[in-house]
């Protein structure tokens, strides 16, 4: 298909039960859809979990994804967000010998801070829009990050 591919975030509310996650990921792989990122956690005080899936595809593909997700028996609701607040967290390990005050200032600009200091390394975290997190990770390259972990996006409709 030659239609334009767009990044989209889809939230899925599912019953907490065995193999529900593989039902979702099987659907994506079986039908050839992308998953850019995926987060899952239980919804407090309920028997449901919420998945946030960042994906990409043409309008038609995105529509199919939401419909196919909805067809899965343990899926309660599927939201394909148009207007949403989206956040992602990243943690980065730096050698303690790097310029810590620079790193700290940068983290602050991205809603973050240094969260752990060890003998040889420090760990910093940021939490921001996925695009901005990406930017942050680009900027800190010069401080020799040893390890980077991203959480994947979570999102709520405005």
């Amino acid at each position: 298909m030659t239609e334009n591919s767009e990044r989209r975030v889809i939230s899925v509310i599912v019953v907490n039960e065995a193999s529900v996650l593989s039902r979702i990921t099987d659907l994506f792989s079986g039908r050839g859809y992308n998953i850019t990122s995926l987060t899952v956690a239980p919804i407090p005080d309920s028997k449901y979990s919420r998945l946030t899936i960042a994906t990409s595809g043409s309008v038609r593909v995105i529509e199919q994804i939401t419909k196919q997700l909805h067809k899965l028996i343990p899926v309660l609701r599927v939201y394909e967000h148009a207007d949403l607040v989206e956040k992602e967290m990243a943690m980065v390990k730096f050698p303690i010998t790097e310029n810590l005050s620079d790193i700290n200032t940068l983290c602050e600009a991205y809603n973050g801070k240094i969260v752990n200091v060890g003998e040889n390394v420090i760990i910093a975290m940021v939490a921001d829009e996925p695009k901005r997190v990406e930017n942050f990770l680009k900027v800190i390259k010069r401080y020799n990050p040893k390890e980077i972990v991203r959480s994947g996006a979570v999102a709520l409709e405005r």
């Binding site: 019953v15 079986g30 529509e63 199919q64 419909k67 196919q68 067809k71 028996i73 309660l76």
Partner: protein, 564 residues
């Protein structure tokens, strides 16, 4: 009531009104088979292969409209059954398939005959369950039957570890199914229905595009009424054969790759497609961008994901096609049936130009003749199954179907080996009707072990083997698109089909003339025992007309006109 998991299976099947179970025992499912031995609520049919058991359950389900049930053991029993699950999934056939599994304590240890069954069946079932506690079994089985039969039907797989079948727990089947996350939308939006009717009234060249969903929804007779009231011509998909009677003047024929010229041309010229329970399969549409190019689309389907999946619907209506057609009938008087007369005439001209036909041959029988002849001799009285290949397409083209559920064939998956076991299931569901399976010399060898089932259970299916000594359909593509390189499709080396049938206690005939065929069919019907009628047919006959793969419906390869 405190009973074992195995007893619960029997109780649940009984309460669901199941009268026939197809299956094959083995270690992990033995507790359930022990209870089957003790009961007399339903009959168990021992197929001779798990794949056949599931196909038989499919045939049973399609012929009866009820949920088909199959039972198998873990490991190889289950993997043998997977083709059946996939077949039922593609053709939306309601099944509950129960498999044994190794005991809970052994799951994940690569135990003897352990395989991750729910992991495998996930992508080819509507839903599946691994039961981890017998107390969940009544709920799960009840849900399984409900999910299989409701909404867009499909197979549900229930995997039960052996220790769970031995575990004692409370059995209460009276709780209603509570599935907050599964509520099929069965009633169409009345505003959309009204708009659809208005579009039909305004259109000049509307066309009903009838799909297999109509049969699943038991809506064929309502659809017949709608077609007749509106005067709008109709094409059927392969899966919808029998929705309209073959002699209905509004029926143009089957469309698609081997559809008739008139049906495909009507679809290419229409200005309004009215799709009822059809899913725009690639074998139906040909090249999508050229499919019904100038038409608006009304699409009625129970499955929202089928709507606008491939072809954009201008009037999407999610709902049970029976409900929706009934609502349409109430307001269909807005449509002036006489308005479409010239459109019907145009279509009749297409049909006169290139009618669906074949050329007889003085030397060898033509397979199409055999099918037409069975239609003449048995007609409405027979239920017709097929295997997969040329014979299947000829059956869809030339058999005079007159009612829904008369034609049972593997459409979506195209499973060779489907026909014979499916015909056994059909016979079990409709014993008073003749069950005929049109098959090929290739297909019949996949599941010919079912001769034993047929003899043992006195299921006198008549298998008509259209023997062209080829994997004919593949040979046809090789002839047309691979410069006649007939790679591995020549089946010159063959068993003696007559003796094969006789070896199991069935009867066999080898015929090569019309007279012999008539006599054999008559005899087989009278003898009332499973039969192979091997018909020696023209080897190189092609299924025509044909839309080459990826081509447009209006660009068909046509039957060559006969030189006079």
């Amino acid at each position: 009531m405190q009973i074992s998991g195995a007893q619960m299976v029997i109780e649940a099947l009984t309460l669901e009104g199941v009268d026939t179970v197809f299956g094959y025992p083995g270690g992990a499912i033995m507790n359930v088979y022990d209870e089957i031995y003790k009961q007399d609520k339903f009959q168990h049919i021992l197929n001779r292969h798990e794949q056949a058991a599931v196909h038989a359950a499919e045939g049973y389900a399609k012929a009866s409209g009820k949920v088909g049930v199959a039972m198998i053991t873990s490991g190889p029993g289950f993997t043998n059954a997977v083709t059946g699950l996939a077949d039922a999934y593609m053709d939306s056939i309601p099944l509950v398939v129960i498999s044994g599994q190794v005991p809970m304590s052994l799951i994940g240890t690569d135990a003897f005959q352990e395989i991750d069954a729910v992991g495998i069946s996930r992508s080819c079932t509507k839903h599946n369950y691994l039961v981890t506690d017998a107390k969940d079994l009544p709920r799960i089985l009840k849900e399984a039957f409900y999910i299989a039969a409701s909404g867009r039907p499909g197979p549900v797989h229930v995997d039960i570890p052996k220790d769970v079948t031995a575990q004692i727990a409370e059995f209460d089947y009276s709780q209603p199914v509570k599935l907050e996350t599964y509520k099929p939308h069965t009633k169409g939006n009345p505003r959309q229905i009204k708009k659809a009717i208005e579009a039909m009234a305004d259109s000049k060249r509307p066309l009903f595009y009838l799909g297999g969903g109509i049969i699943n929804a038991n809506a064929a007779y309502e659809v017949r009424e709608l077609v007749h009231k509106t005067g709008i011509p109709a094409v059927e998909t392969f899966m919808a054969r029998g929705v309209l009677a073959h002699d209905d003047e509004h029926l143009i024929g089957m469309l698609g790759m081997h559809g008739s010229y008139a049906a495909n041309m009507a679809m290419s010229e229409t200005d309004l497609v009215i799709a009822l329970g059809a899913r725009f399969d690639d074998r139906v549409t040909g090249k999508l961008s050229e499919f019904a190019k100038n038409a608006a689309v009304i699409h009625v389907d129970i499955d929202p994901a089928s709507i606008s999946k491939l072809v954009n619907a201008d009037f999407p209506i999610v709902g049970d096609v029976k409900n929706v057609v009934n609502e349409m009938l109430e307001i269909s008087s807005k449509i002036d049936a006489s308005k479409f007369e010239s459109w019907r005439e145009t279509i009749n001209n297409f049909d006169d130009l290139h009618p669906l036909t074949y050329h007889e041959d003085s030397e060898k029988l033509k397979p199409q003749w055999v099918i037409e002849r069975v239609g003449e001799l048995l007609g409405d009285d027979a239920n017709i199954s097929t295997d997969v290949g040329q014979h299947q397409m000829w059956t869809a083209q030339f058999y005079p179907f007159s009612r829904p559920r008369q034609f049972i064939s593997s459409g979506g998956l195209g499973t060779m080996g489907f026909g014979f076991p499916a015909a056994l299931g059909v016979k079990a569901a409709a014993p008073q009707q003749t069950s005929v399976n049109f098959t090929g010399d290739g297909s019949i060898l996949m599941n010919c072990q079912e001769l034993m089932t047929a003899v043992e259970k006195k299921l006198p299916v008549i298998n008509i083997i259209l023997n062209n000594n080829y994997l004919g359909m593949v040979r046809q593509w090789q002839t047309l698109f691979y410069d006649k390189r007939h790679s591995e499709t020549d089946l010159s080396v063959q068993p003696d089909f007559v003796k094969l049938s006789e070896a199991f206690g069935g009867i066999g005939y080898r015929v090569s003339t019309k007279e012999e065929f008539d006599a054999a069919l008559k005899d087989a019907v009278e003898k009332n025992v499973v039969a192979f009628i091997e018909v020696i047919v023209h080897r190189l006959e092609n299924v025509m007309p044909m839309v080459p793969s990826g081509g447009s419906l209006f660009n068909m390869m046509l039957l060559e006109k006969k030189e006079k």
